[in-house]
Symmetry: C2
Subunit: 125 residues, 2 copies
């Protein structure tokens, strides 16, 4: 028997969380602020390291630092709603954002983010 | 019949050139001086670019510049006697070394280096 081709089955994701319009704005603002701060930190570090370049090994260390920073930033700042709890939890655990910046998210999301942040902070301590 | 195992056949290379002890010293000194100058140039450039970092794209451009510089330097500074004519010819064509620094090499080597340098300068002009 043929299935109904007009209504394909909805895939359901374990991580699926609904984000209200307001929550999306809060999350996006916090995300962008953390990214901006992290980029500024990398710029400041790059300037400091470049200032004190003495020999070729310092140069290639600066290169390695920048490559690793780029890879880490690419990996970490993944703005997909299915990943956003993980992203915000990670940023919170690293002190890249403050809990106050997440005010406006529903309590269940805040709890999941906080709980992940605590877990990550403990496991990397 | 067995070949004589104690004296394996000598392989002969098209690029094989004999370098006297004195020539090795001249070549090594010129090579190291060019490498040192090139590294200093990259360091100066890196400092300048780091000084004027404004946004993330500048940061990743600095990273790309350093990666490419490292790859180019690794590729170019190949101190094998079988490659040395090519290496010195390339450095001469790029103004990375002056002909005066090669004084002490036999005239046939100088001619090959000069001829390659002119060819490369023409073909990248």
């Amino acid at each position: 028997m043929n299935g109904d081709l007009r209504t394909p089955p909805q895939r359901s994701y374990a991580n699926e969380v609904a984000w209200s319009k307001r929550e999306k704005t809060v999350a996006r603002t916090a995300f962008e602020a953390a990214l901006d701060r992290e980029l500024r930190d990398v710029m400041r570090q790059a300037k400091d390291r470049a200032d004190s370049l003495q020999q070729s090994s310092d140069l290639w260390e600066l290169e390695r630092y920048l490559s690793e920073s780029r890879r880490e930033i690419d990996r970490k700042y993944d703005y997909r709603y299915s990943q956003l709890i993980h992203v915000l939890g990670t940023l919170l655990s690293q002190g890249r954002l403050q809990e106050a910046e997440l005010q406006g998210l529903a309590e269940d999301k805040l709890q999941r983010i906080r709980s992940l942040a605590e877990w990550l902070a403990k496991s990397t301590a």
